[in-house]
C-alpha cells in the first residue's frame, strides 16, 4: 500500500512539473516576441496563450484537486516565493520592471506611436482588431494580460476555497466585472462608436479611483460624446453620490473593493499567495491613517480645482457657474461635518475627528481657491499640473509600480491600503455609517493569529477577536479570508442593525463577571 501511495505521489509530482514546464514555455514563447519580431502574430498569440492557460490550469488541478477541500496554507512561510524569499524578490523585480516599461518606456514592449507596433505589442494586434478595430497599444496588451491573470488565478482561487461559497461567489463576481465591464464592453463600445472622442467606458471605475473622470478633457469628451457620453457622465455621478453611498451603507465597502473593483480583483486572485506579507504593526496602521487622509485631501482639492478651472473657461458647457459649484461643495462639506460632529461620539469619536480634520482642510482649500484663484491658476499653481503630478505620483507610480510590482514583498493590497482615494472614502463611510461588521463569536477565540496573518489589509483582527469585540475598521475590504482561516469559527462578516455594531465589553463571553 505504501508503495502505491508513493507511486501516486511521484506521479502527481511529475504531472505538476510537466504542467509548470508547459505553462512557463508558453510564457517564454510570448516573451520571445520582445527579441524576435513575430512572423505570424496570431499563431504566436494563440499558441502561447493556450500553453499558458492549459499549463496553469493543469498545475492548479494537481495542487488543489488532489487533496481534500479545506484551508491550504501548508508551507506558505517556508516557500521562497511567498515568504519574501529569493523567488519573491525575483518576481517583484520582474513585475516592477514590466510596470516601468508600460508607463514610461512602452517602446521597449514594441509600442510605436505611428500605429505599427512591433514585438510584444504587435502579438496582440489580432485580438485588438477583433475587439476594438484598432492596432494594439501597450495599454491593450496590459489590459489583456491583466484580465487573463484575474481569470486564471480566479479559477485557482475558487479551487483553493471550493468549500467556501462566499469566496466562490465573490471571486466569480470580480472575474465577471473584470472581463465584461473593464475589458470587453469598453473595447466593443469603442469599436461601435469610432467617431466619438475618447472617454473611460468602464462603468464601474468611478471617481476618485478613476482620477481623471472630472478632468477638463474627459468631461468635454463625455459631453461631446452623444448619448453614450451623457450616459457615462450621469451614471458616473450617480455612482459617486447615490449608488455607492447606499451600497456601502448596506454592505460595507466590500461591495466594491472585493466584489467589483479591478485592482481588488487582481489583489484577490493573482495577489492571493502574498496576502500574508502585509504588515500588522501598530506603527504601520498609524501611517496608513495619515496616508489615506492625505491622499483623500489631495484628490479632493485637485479635483475641485480642476473643475473650477473647467467652469471658468467653459461657462457655456455647464448648467451652473463656478461660484454656484463652489457654493454647493461648501454646503455639502458643512453638512457632512455637522453630521459627523453631532452623531459620532464614543467609540467612533477618534475616527470622526480624523475625518473632520480632513474635511476642514478641504473646506479651507476650497474657500481659498474661490478667493485667490484666477482663470487657470489655482492658488498660483496650474491646476492641470497638479492633476498631472497626481496622475504620476498616485495613479501610476503608486497603484501600478508599488501596488502590483511589490505584491511579493509588501503584500497584495499596498495600493488599496495606503494609496487608494476610493478606498479612503468608502472606508470613512464604512467606519462611521454602515451596517457591515465582522462579528466575533463570543469567547471562542484562542488568539492563534491566523486571521491577522492572512488579512491582506494588515488589520490585526486577533486584537479585537480575543477581546470579544467586533471588527469595524475602515480599511477592511470584506474579503472574508480571516473568517475562512479561523480554526475556531470565530469570525462572521455580516450586515445588521447599527446598534451594538461596535461592542466593547470588558470581558469576552463565557465569564459571569
Amino acid at each position: 500500500m505504501g508503495t502505491l501511495k508513493s507511486k501516486i505521489n511521484i506521479m502527481i509530482l511529475t504531472q505538476k512539473k510537466g504542467s509548470l514546464i508547459l505553462g512557463s514555455s508558453g510564457f517564454l514563447l510570448l516573451l520571445s516576441s520582445l527579441f524576435f519580431s513575430p512572423q505570424d502574430e496570431l499563431l504566436l498569440l494563440v499558441a502561447s496563450m493556450l500553453m499558458m492557460v492549459s499549463g496553469s490550469l493543469l498545475y492548479f488541478k494537481k495542487v488543489y484537486g488532489s487533496s481534500l477541500a479545506g484551508i491550504k496554507n501548508d508551507g506558505v512561510w517556508f516557500n521562497a516565493l511567498t515568504a519574501e524569499g529569493i523567488w519573491g524578490w525575483a518576481l517583484g523585480i520582474a513585475l516592477t520592471g514590466f510596470y516601468v516599461a508600460i508607463y514610461w518606456f512602452p517602446e521597449v514592449l514594441g509600442f510605436n506611436t505611428n500605429g505599427t507596433s512591433t514585438g510584444l505589442v504587435q502579438v496582440f494586434d489580432p485580438l485588438s482588431y477583433a475587439l476594438n478595430g484598432n492596432a494594439a497599444t501597450q495599454w491593450f496588451l496590459y489590459g489583456t494580460l491583466y484580465t487573463t491573470a484575474i481569470l486564471l488565478f480566479g479559477v485557482k482561487f475558487i479551487w483553493k476555497y471550493r468549500h467556501n461559497r462566499y469566496q466562490i461567489i465573490r471571486t466569480l463576481s470580480v472575474m465577471f466585472f473584470q472581463l465584461c465591464f473593464a475589458f470587453l464592453i469598453p473595447e466593443i463600445l469603442g469599436k461601435l462608436n469610432p467617431e466619438t472622442p475618447y472617454f473611460a467606458k468602464d462603468l464601474k471605475n468611478m471617481w476618485p479611483l478613476n482620477y481623471y473622470f472630472l478632468d477638463q478633457w474627459h468631461l468635454k469628451n463625455m459631453l461631446n460624446g452623444g448619448n453614450l457620453g451623457l450616459f457615462f457622465l450621469t451614471f458616473g455621478l450617480a455612482l459617486m453620490f447615490i449608488i455607492s453611498p447606499i451600497l456601502t451603507y448596506l454592505y460595507g465597502k466590500r461591495w466594491y473593493c472585493s466584489w467589483v473593483c479591478g485592482c481588488g480583483a487582481l489583489a484577490e486572485t493573482a495577489g492571493d499567495p502574498f496576502r500574508q506579507l502585509s504588515s500588522k504593526k501598530i506603527s504601520v496602521w498609524k501611517f496608513e491613517r495619515w496616508m489615506i487622509h492625505v491622499v483623500l485631501v489631495f484628490i479632493s482639492v485637485t479635483t475641485i480645482a480642476v473643475l473650477w478651472s473647467f467652469l471658468s473657461s467653459n461657462s457655456t458647457m455647464s448648467w451652473f457657474s463656478r461660484e454656484q459649484f463652489i457654493g454647493g461643495i461648501v454646503i455639502f462639506i458643512l453638512v457632512v461635518m455637522a453630521l459627523l460632529f453631532f452623531w459620532k461620539t464614543g467609540a467612533l469619536s477618534k475616527d470622526a475627528k480624523y475625518s473632520l480634520l480632513s474635511l476642514g482642510i478641504i473646506l479651507i482649500a476650497v474657500l481659498s481657491i474661490q478667493a485667490f484663484s484666477g482663470e487657470k491658476n489655482i492658488l498660483f499653481i496650474n491646476s492641470y499640473k497638479l492633476q498631472k503630478w497626481y496622475g504620476f505620483g498616485v495613479g501610476a507610480a503608486f497603484s501600478g509600480v508599488l501596488g502590483v510590482g511589490f505584491y511579493p514583498i509588501l503584500g497584495s493590497r499596498v495600493w488599496c491600503r495606503f494609496g487608494c482615494p476610493m478606498a479612503a472614502i468608502l472606508g470613512l463611510q464604512q467606519r462611521l455609517l454602515s451596517r457591515f461588521r465582522i462579528t466575533t463569536n463570543g469567547g471562542q477565540c484562542i488568539s492563534c493569529g491566523n486571521c491577522s496573518t492572512y488579512c491582506e489589509m494588515g488589520i490585526d483582527v486577533r486584537a479585537y477577536a480575543q477581546r470579544g469585540e467586533n471588527i469595524v475598521r475602515s480599511s477592511c475590504v470584506g474579503c472574508g479570508i480571516c473568517s475562512a482561516v479561523c480554526p475556531r469559527g470565530v469570525l462572521k462578516l455580516e450586515n445588521d442593525r447599527l446598534e451594538n455594531r461596535i461592542n466593547s465589553e470588558n470581558y469576552p463571553l463565557g465569564n459571569t463577571l
Binding site: 479545506g70 496554507n73 512561510w77 462572521k492 463577571l513
Partner: protein
C-alpha cells in the same frame, strides 16, 4: 478607588493565557508593580497556534498577540528565568540562577506538562510530547530525519500532531486506545465521522491499540514501536499525547497544598495567604457543579485570570465560569460545543436530537430534557454556531420548539453557505412524534 490602595509587588509565575490575562486586568485597574516570570519564552505567545508554525501557516512571531513593546508601555516587567522554590515564610521566590525575588502577592500560573505513562523506551531520543515551545523546536530539529512517525494517544494534541506531521509529508501512524477517536467526549456518530476523516487524509489510524514499548537504535534514538497486539511499526519519531498534568513539581517543597494541581478554593486562593493559582495548574476543591476540578483549556485559563484580577485589585470575586463551551478543528472539520451533551445520557434526563448531512461532514446534536424539553447543550461538526445565542438559550432554559424555530439566528456560517435549518426542524418533528408515542 483601587488606584489609591498601597502599591504592592505582584509576581506571576507563568506567561501563558491565564497569567497574562490576570496581569493585563490588574494593570488596567491598579498601579501595582507587576512582574511575570517564564522559563519558556520571553514574550507571551499562543500555545494553541504551535501547530501552525510547524505547518508553515505562520511564523512564530505571528503567534504573539502583543507587540514586544506592549509590556514596557504597560509597565509589566518580564523576567526569563526558572523558579525553583517558593519560600512563603520570607515571601520570596528562588530562581535557578540563585537570585531571589520578593512578592506581596504571588500568582501561580505554571500551566501543564505532557504525561508519560511509564512505557519502556519513553525517554529515548526522538520521543516527546508537544506542549512547550521547546517541544516544537525539538520536533523541528528531528523533522528532516523523520519519514514515518507514531503518535500514541487520541486526544486533541494527538490529532493536531497527526495533521502537522502529515502536512510535512511524513507517514503517520496514530495509535488510539479507545474503540473510536476521542469517544470520551464525542458521541459515536461524531467520533466515527472523525475516524473516517482522519483516514481519508491518509493517516494510519489504529483504534483499540496500545503502546507496549519503544525500540531504540544504536544511538539511543527511537526506531520503532511495538503495540500491545505485537505489531511492530517502524518510526523515527514517537509522539506521546496521552494528556497533560499540572506543571507543579517545583512547588513540592513549598508549604502549598497540592493534589494533582495546586489546590484552590472558589476564590482561586491556595492554602497560603497572598498566594493564588489559576489556569491549567489550578485544581478546584469545590468545582462549579457539573464541571471538572481541572479544566486544562484556554478559555478557563483566561476566565480565571479575569476573575483573579478583580480580587487582587480589592474587589474579591468568586470564580464563576458561565455555560461550558469549547471548540476544536480535526483536520478540515470544525467542532463547537455549548452546554452539556453526555455520551451516554440517562434517558430520563437527557435526549438527543441528531441531524447529519447526507454526504458532507456536517452534523448538529442538541441535547434536551425529555420532560421539560429545555435545551441542555449542543455539539456541531462542520457548522459554526453563535456563542451568544446559545449562551442565552442555555441561561433561559429555552424549550426545544423555540430553539428549532429560531435556529437560523444561531447560524454563524459565512454568508451564502447552504443552510440546514429545514432539515433540522424536520428531524425535530420526527423525534417529537416518537417522544409522544
Amino acid at each position: 478607588m483601587s488606584k489609591n490602595t498601597p502599591k504592592k509587588s505582584i509576581v506571576i509565575i507563568g506567561n501563558g493565557i491565564s497569567g497574562i490575562t490576570a496581569a493585563r486586568h490588574i494593570r488596567k485597574q491598579s498601579d501595582h508593580t507587576i512582574t511575570i516570570i517564564s522559563e519558556e519564552t520571553p514574550y507571551f505567545f499562543s500555545r494553541t497556534a504551535l501547530m501552525y508554525v510547524y505547518m508553515g501557516h505562520m511564523r512564530f512571531e505571528h503567534t504573539q498577540p502583543y507587540e514586544n513593546d506592549f509590556w514596557e508601555k504597560n509597565k509589566i516587567n518580564l523576567r526569563s528565568e526558572r523558579v525553583t522554590q517558593v519560600v512563603n515564610k520570607k515571601q520570596i521566590l528562588e530562581f535557578e540562577t540563585g537570585a531571589t525575588l520578593a512578592y506581596d502577592i504571588l500568582i501561580i500560573a505554571s500551566g501543564s506538562k505532557p504525561n508519560k505513562l511509564g512505557w519502556p523506551g519513553q525517554d529515548l531520543k526522538a520521543v516527546q510530547g508537544l506542549y512547550h515551545k521547546q517541544d516544537l523546536d525539538t520536533l523541528e530539529s528531528w523533522s528532516p530525519t523523520i519519514q514515518s512517525a507514531t503518535l500514541v494517544g487520541g486526544g486533541l494534541i494527538g490529532i493536531e500532531l497527526a495533521e502537522m506531521l502529515h502536512s510535512r509529508g511524513k507517514k503517520v501512524h496514530f495509535l488510539v486506545r479507545e474503540s473510536s477517536f476521542w469517544n470520551k467526549v464525542l458521541p459515536p456518530e461524531e467520533s466515527e465521522m472523525i475516524n473516517q476523516h482522519i483516514r481519508a487524509h491518509g493517516i494510519d489510524l489504529q483504534l483499540e491499540t496500545e503502546l507496549k514499548a519503544i525500540e531504540s537504535n544504536e544511538e539511543g534514538r527511537a526506531k520503532g514501536v511495538i503495540t500491545h497486539k505485537g505489531d511492530r511499526i517502524e518510526s523515527q519519531w514517537v509522539g506521546l499525547t496521552v494528556g497533560v498534568t499540572p506543571n507543579i513539581d517545583f512547588l513540592k517543597n513549598s508549604d502549598l497544598a497540592l493534589g494533582r494541581g495546586v489546590k484552590v478554593n472558589s476564590y482561586l486562593e491556595t492554602n497560603l495567604p497572598n498566594i493564588y493559582a489559576i489556569g491549567d495548574c489550578a485544581e478546584q476543591m469545590e468545582p462549579v457543579s457539573g464541571r471538572r476540578s481541572i479544566e486544562a483549556v484556554w478559555y478557563t485559563g483566561r476566565m480565571m485570570g479575569e476573575t483573579l484580577a478583580q480580587t487582587v485589585v480589592g474587589n474579591k470575586t468568586k470564580y464563576a465560569p458561565g455555560h461550558w463551551f469549547n471548540s476544536a478543528k480535526f483536520f478540515d472539520i470544525e467542532y463547537q460545543t455549548y452546554g452539556n451533551v453526555s455520551i451516554e445520557p440517562n434517558p430520563e434526563e437527557e435526549h438527543h436530537l441528531f441531524w447529519k448531512h447526507s454526504n458532507k461532514n456536517q452534523s448538529i446534536r442538541l441535547s434536551f430534557n425529555p420532560t421539560t424539553l429545555e435545551l441542555l447543550g449542543c455539539i456541531s461538526m462542520g457548522i459554526r454556531l453563535r456563542h451568544s445565542i446559545f449562551d442565552q438559550w442555555l441561561t433561559d432554559k429555552e424549550p426545544m420548539d423555540r430553539v428549532i424555530q429560531y435556529f437560523n439566528q444561531a447560524n454563524f456560517d459565512p454568508e451564502f453557505y447552504p443552510t440546514y435549518e429545514k432539515e433540522l426542524s424536520l428531524e425535530w418533528e420526527l423525534s417529537k412524534a416518537k417522544l409522544i408515542l
